[in-house]
């Protein structure tokens, strides 16, 4: 098992299914077409083009951000 903190909540995934960011998002998102978000891994921005090749480890923290109204 691999344990990840996503938006402050803890999730456990089968480590054979989830080795990269892209795979983690595929498991986490119900809507697989979701694209209106940006992401940070352990506090560092990761661009969409890098999801496929960014490996993740147990204990990693992922922040997934969406647009909201702001002043």
């Amino acid at each position: 098992m691999i344990e990840l903190h996503i938006n402050g909540q803890q999730f456990s995934f089968d480590s054979t299914d989830v080795e990269t960011l892209e795979q983690a998002l595929s498991v986490y998102f119900e809507n697989k077409q979701q694209s209106t978000f940006a992401l940070a891994l352990n506090g560092e921005f990761v661009g969409k083009e890098a999801y496929k090749n960014t490996r993740i480890s147990t204990g990693d923290s992922i922040d997934i951000m969406f647009p909201i109204q702001g002043g």
Partner: protein, 268 residues
């Protein structure tokens, strides 16, 4: 006269926020009534499976497209340069803009910007190709440092965010204007009444950024229009050249040939 933001010429000198409106529909109507071509928005952690922000995002996109405007993402909630830089990079990817309204909060009580972290974040982001619009206090030296780093647009506060107290220190804002004549200066935060925005323009500012003053009005759409007119009026007055204040009264009606019965020392 147009507002210059990093080479983009905008007809409206009002920049408006997208938060706190009673509904997305009112938000859209208010933004359209304001005439603004720059709309601020933000990023927040959300459960993607709830998708609660999708509708508001759709409205903001539609509104900005309708006015051929620009998105101005902010870094609200950040308290360190590191957080701010990360959020700015996320915003650039998601909103496809290198404009960033830089907010680094230093104190939770009055939401006062942290000048040290703000300078650090500004320097790093400018080197990374961002067009930084820093939200800062009305501190002359801080504004000069931001200008020296390459911030062509600087946004000192009128008073703390959301207070509606108006311009606390006109002298400070006026001094920043005098000392940074080449900078695009925008008063950001604390505006409450249309007359506050008019005053900012009369001080020679290039624009005003506000949100709460419109969104929390009883009639947000009318208030948006009121701010638009106040800003136009203030700018027109500044450009027209405001008269020098005088210490003594001066009659505005010519006294030459005043009828004799009004002469001092005479009895009527």
């Amino acid at each position: 006269m147009s507002l210059n933001i990093y080479g983009q010429q905008l007809d409206s000198r009002l920049l408006i926020g997208s938060a706190l409106y009673s509904s997305p529909e009112i938000m859209k109507k208010a933004i359209l009534a304001s005439g603004s071509q720059v709309v601020t928005l933000s990023l927040k952690r959300q459960n993607p499976n709830e998708n609660s922000g999708a509708k508001i995002w759709q409205y903001i996109q539609e509104t900005v497209a309708e006015v051929d405007g620009h998105l101005l993402p902010n870094t609200a909630g950040c308290k360190s340069a590191k957080e701010t830089i990360t959020l700015a990079k996320m915003s650039r990817e998601l909103f496809n803009t290198n404009w960033i309204k830089l907010e680094v909060i230093g104190d939770d009580y009055n939401l006062q910007p942290d000048p040290i972290e703000l300078l650090t974040a500004s320097e790093a982001l400018i080197k990374d190709g961002f067009k930084v619009l820093p939200y800062c206090t009305d501190d002359l030296v801080l504004c000069q440092r931001l200008w020296d780093l390459g911030c062509e647009v600087i946004m000192p506060w009128a008073s703390p965010i959301g207070t509606g107290k108006g311009i606390m220190n006109p002298y400070n804002l006026e001094t920043i204007r005098l000392r940074l004549p080449q900078a695009t200066l925008i008063v950001d935060a604390g505006i409450g009444k249309p007359s506050d925005a008019c005053m900012a323009m009369e001080l020679g500012y290039d624009g005003v950024l506000l949100n709460s003053a419109v969104a929390l009005a009883d009639n947000a759409v009318s208030m948006a229009k009121a701010f638009s007119l106040a800003i136009q009026s203030g700018e027109l007055g500044y450009v027209a050249g405001i008269m020098q204040e005088r210490q003594t009264a001066q009659p505005s009606t010519p006294t030459l040939d005043t009828p004799f019965w009004h002469q001092p020392g005479t009895n009527s």
